[in-house]
Each structure stands twice: as structure tokens, then as C-alpha cells.
């Protein structure tokens, strides 16, 4: 059994989504980050998660536009340096509403060692399949960055059909779809889209159902395209992650479970040693 790798952890306040924007910084003071780090690592130890890729929360104040986004990405890079063994990979973000001015930040992230860029379009005010996103993904593909794209249920701008439209334009570029297991109907759509768009990979975050659905995914699309993600946010301290329990409870082989619990992510993110 290999160590669990979680590609889907947010460094940011989940309460900003429903209770923001208070004008607070995306993260917080140095003291706050100390507590956040300790809380996160304790949770990971408790859950048996060996390592994780980190991405920002997507609902953060940005009155200064790109400058605020750069600061968020810089904070993430600094966070990783604190413990590169536990956090061997970071995934930044850039706002589609910045238009083509956002391309420079994608290049900066590549230079800083980010392995991907994440979006949660419902929180970012532009659609997954907007022309700006085509420019962003084209640049990322050239730089070897992986797109991490959320597709939560009833997300309007982050609908799965929009992600399909984008992914079909870049058949050689692997794109990781997050949160599409958040609803039974959406899970059905995931299987349908996944069968037609082979460069899409999916995670189990926000899974709202039983292990049998994971087995169904593997039957339909194979074990190589499903990844474990916890969707852990800052200060989250769960005693259990249902998605993790569900994977462990499947009747899949140990090889298949290991792929889902970390092997696929390590391969996708080129982290074989992590």
C-alpha cells in the first residue's frame, strides 16, 4: 500500500465563499499561518494523508487586481517552502476577469515552480469555456502546467459541459476536473463526458455517495483517471474524510486503490518521489 497523496487542499478561508468579503487578507498574519499549518498537518496525520498539493481558496479579496492575486500565489509558494516534504506541489490561480493581462502571472507561476493553475469559475465571474480561458490553457500547455478546474454541481460558469468544450480544444493536455462527484446527476454526466474526452481526469472531492460509485467509475473509465482529493480548507480539522473512507471501502484491487489514492496524482504532477 503506497502513501496517500491528496491533490486537492485549499490554503484559504472556506467561509469567504458564503460569509466574505470582509476585507481580510487571503490568508492572515504570520501567527495565523502558524496555527493553520499545525492544524493542517495534524489533520493529515490523523487521516493518513502523507502529502498534498496546495491551491488557494478562490474567494479572496482582490481590490488591487493582479497585485492581490500575485500576493496570494506568493503566500502559497512561501507556505510550501515551510515543509516541501508534506507539500511537494503548489497550484496557483489567476483571475479570468483580468483578461489577457493574466498571462504574465501564468508565466511567473511556471518560473516559481508551480505545477498547475486552479480555477473555481463560479467564484471568479467568467466561464470555463470563455475565450480568455483558451488563451490561459494554451499558455499553460506550452509551459507544462496542469489545469485544475472545479465543476461543482449547478455551478453555471463551471458546468461540466463547459469544461468538455475547453478540454476538447486541447486533446494533448491533461486537465484535472475537481468536484464533479458532488451530485448523482453530475456523476452520470462525468462518466459520459469522461468516455468522450480522454484527456480529462476526475477527482472524488465532494463525493456524496457510496463506494459503489467509485467502482462504477473504474469500470467505465478505468482506475487511471480517478484521483483522491479531500477539499480540505484552512483550519479544517475533520476526523474523517468520506471520500477517503469510500475509496478504502471499495472492492477494487490494492493496485487500483493505490492509483486513486496517490499514484495517478504523482504521475500527473510528475512527483514520483513524493
Amino acid at each position: 500500500m503506497s502513501a496517500v497523496f491528496d491533490h486537492h487542499q485549499h490554503v484559504g478561508r472556506v467561509d469567504n465563499i458564503v460569509r466574505g468579503m470582509g476585507g481580510a487578507p487571503a490568508l492572515g498574519s504570520a501567527e495565523w499561518i502558524e496555527v493553520e499549518y499545525a492544524t493542517r498537518v495534524r489533520a493529515m496525520d490523523r487521516l493518513g494523508i502523507a502529502a498534498a498539493a496546495l491551491m488557494p481558496g478562490h474567494s479572496y479579496p482582490r481590490p488591487r487586481g493582479l497585485a492581490d492575486t500575485r500576493a496570494v500565489n506568493d503566500q502559497l509558494a512561501a507556505y510550501r517552502l515551510r515543509d516541501p516534504r508534506r507539500f511537494p506541489a503548489i497550484v496557483g490561480t489567476v483571475e479570468p476577469r483580468y483578461g489577457l493581462a493574466g498571462l504574465a502571472e501564468i508565466e511567473r507561476m511556471a518560473e516559481m515552480g508551480f505545477i498547475g493553475v486552479s480555477w473555481h469559475h463560479r467564484q471568479q465571474g467568467l466561464a470555463i469555456d470563455h475565450p480568455v480561458m483558451v488563451h490561459y490553457v494554451r499558455r499553460m500547455a506550452a509551459l507544462g502546467l496542469v489545469p485544475f478546474i472545479h465543476a461543482f454541481v449547478r455551478g453555471d460558469f463551471e458546468s461540466l459541459w463547459r469544461l468538455r468544450a475547453l478540454a476538447e480544444r486541447f486533446p494533448e493536455t491533461p486537465i484535472l476536473c475537481l468536484d464533479s462527484m458532488s451530485d448523482p446527476e453530475l456523476c452520470e454526466e462525468t462518466l459520459a463526458v469522461g468516455a468522450r474526452v480522454p484527456n480529462l481526469l476526475f477527482d472524488v472531492a465532494a463525493l456524496g455517495f457510496r463506494p459503489a460509485w467509485i467502482e462504477r467509475f473504474v469500470d467505465a473509465l478505468g482506475p487511471e483517471r480517478l484521483l483522491f482529493g479531500s477539499n480540505l480548507y484552512s483550519m479544517g480539522a475533520p476526523d474523517a474524510v468520506p471520500e477517503l473512507d469510500a475509496i478504502r471501502a471499495t472492492r477494487l484491487s490494492q493496485v487500483e486503490r493505490d492509483l486513486i489514492l496517490g499514484g495517478n496524482a504523482r504521475r500527473l504532477l510528475k512527483l514520483e518521489g513524493a
Binding site: G20, M21, G102, L126
Partner: protein, 262 residues
């Protein structure tokens, strides 16, 4: 009959989501001259909903300045609205003060484009500040956007019962129209514009249930194609079998009272 279109976006492209680039100050005059073709009715101008924001508050402020310039330099424009971004948090509060100082009549939000829920707490702070300054608050309510869900608008409006809010584009979907008609008592301080309204039959029901006092004529075109068809809304109101007094309220009198227009 006099007509005031209270929902008239400027800077239209072929798709609502095309990112509008706010022109530099030196380019205002030329941009306004190019875009201010004479229209048929008096109009309340609203900013483009999707505009590029690489400079954050700076882009928003320049857009609000453009709206103020548009108001002054466009003959059929009787009032104009500004915008502030919820993702700018409390840093946007001074921009609300500036919107009032610019002479704009209100603030419009399109939470689908803002990327936040319409009822996040910062919206309450925005509403409070805007109401203090006498600004009108208008929010889009497209059915397909969870960010703009009508129940979120109701909660926000009900938190400020003495303030008048306007829901834009709420009647573009049968189910949502039914939801509003079956919850007519929710947020009585919320007015509805008629953009996206589908038929005169629907309008008669709205007048019967909500009352003409709560309805405002607005075309709400978000792209150039829709703008070409905007005249049908007025013809639809005029053809609907409701009393002339109701048509008058809908087509202009409610707008005059709400925006304190001559």
C-alpha cells in the same frame, strides 16, 4: 406614451461575457461619441457587466467615471448607474461614496459576473452605504445563476425594508416567474424590471399579482443582438390588456419616482 428604459447597458458586444476593456480617460470622448447613437426612448444607462479587472479598484473607478461622462454627454440618457465589486471587499466602500458624488443614481450588480453570492455580508454593507447616500440598488436575478438566485435577493432586500431594490431579468424563466408570483409577499420593497419577459399574458399576471407599482420597464439587452430587438418590450407593454394607468406606471412613472427624475 412616455417611456423610460431603466435597464440599458452600454458597451455591448456580441456576447454578454466578452470582456469589456474600460477605455483610458483620454479616450472617453471618442468612445462615447462612437457609442451614443440616438435611441427611441429615455434610458437609464448601466455599465457593461463583464469588464476586465487587472487593476482592481482602478478599473472599477474608471468605469464609473465613464458612466458619469456618458450620462452628461448622451442626450437620451436620463440617469446612469455605477458598479462596485464584492471581491474588492470593504475597500470598495469609498467608491460607493464617489459614485454618489459623480451624480450617478444607483449601483447595479451582476453576481454571476462578480463571482460571489448576492447575499454575502459585504453586500449588506454595500447596500447600507448606498442607501444612506440615496442610491438605488439594482441586482440581476438570472435563473441559471445560483449566485443570483432570487431567494438570495429576497433575503438581502428584506434586511433593508425601507430601501427600494430592483431585480433585473427575473422573469426570463417560467419556473422563477411562478416562484415570484407565489411569493408576492416576499421583499415588498423589491421592484422587478421587465427585461426577459416573454409575453403579454405573463405581464398581465404580474400586474394582477404584484401590482403595477412594483414593475418597471427595462429592456436589459446584454448583447447587440438583443438590443436590436429591445423595441418589442415596449410594444408588448402597450398591447397588454391592463389599464392605461398601469401601463403609465410601468413605462415611466415608477422610474421617475424611484430615480427622482423630472
Amino acid at each position: 406614451m412616455r417611456t423610460i428604459d431603466i435597464h440599458c447597458h452600454i458597451g455591448l458586444s456580441h456576447d454578454e461575457c466578452d470582456l469589456f476593456t474600460v477605455p483610458p480617460y483620454a479616450g472617453f470622448d471618442r468612445w462615447i461619441a462612437a457609442g451614443s447613437a440616438p435611441g427611441e426612448v429615455e434610458a437609464v444607462a448601466m455599465p457593461p457587466t463583464f469588464y476586465a479587472l487587472p487593476d482592481g479598484l482602478g478599473d472599477t473607478a474608471r468605469l464609473n467615471d465613464l458612466m458619469a461622462a456618458w450620462r452628461v454627454n448622451t442626450h437620451r440618457c436620463v440617469a446612469a448607474f455605477g458598479v462596485v465589486e464584492p471581491h474588492h471587499g470593504d475597500d470598495a466602500l469609498p467608491e460607493i461614496d464617489r459614485i454618489a458624488a459623480l451624480g450617478l443614481k444607483g449601483i447595479v450588480w451582476r453576481h454571476r459576473a462578480h463571482g460571489v453570492f448576492a447575499d454575502v455580508p459585504v453586500m449588506a454593507r454595500f447596500a447600507e452605504r448606498a442607501a444612506t447616500l440615496g442610491l438605488v440598488l439594482a441586482l440581476h436575478a438570472s435563473r441559471h445563476s445560483g449566485n443570483e438566485a432570487i431567494w438570495r435577493l429576497w433575503y438581502l432586500a428584506e434586511a433593508f425594508p425601507a430601501v427600494t431594490f430592483v431585480a433585473l431579468g427575473a422573469f426570463g424563466d417560467f419556473e422563477q416567474q411562478e416562484e415570484i408570483l407565489n411569493n408576492a409577499g416576499r421583499a415588498p420593497n423589491l421592484r422587478y424590471d421587465l427585461s426577459d419577459l416573454r409575453s403579454g399574458h405573463d405581464l398581465k399576471r404580474l400586474v394582477d399579482v404584484l401590482g403595477a407599482d412594483r414593475l418597471l420597464y427595462g429592456t436589459g439587452a446584454h448583447d447587440v443582438g438583443a438590443a436590436r430587438e429591445a423595441g418589442r418590450h415596449r410594444r408588448l407593454v402597450l398591447a397588454t390588456p391592463v389599464p392605461d394607468a398601469a401601463k403609465e406606471r410601468i413605462l415611466w412613472r415608477n422610474a421617475v419616482e424611484l430615480l427622482a427624475l423630472p
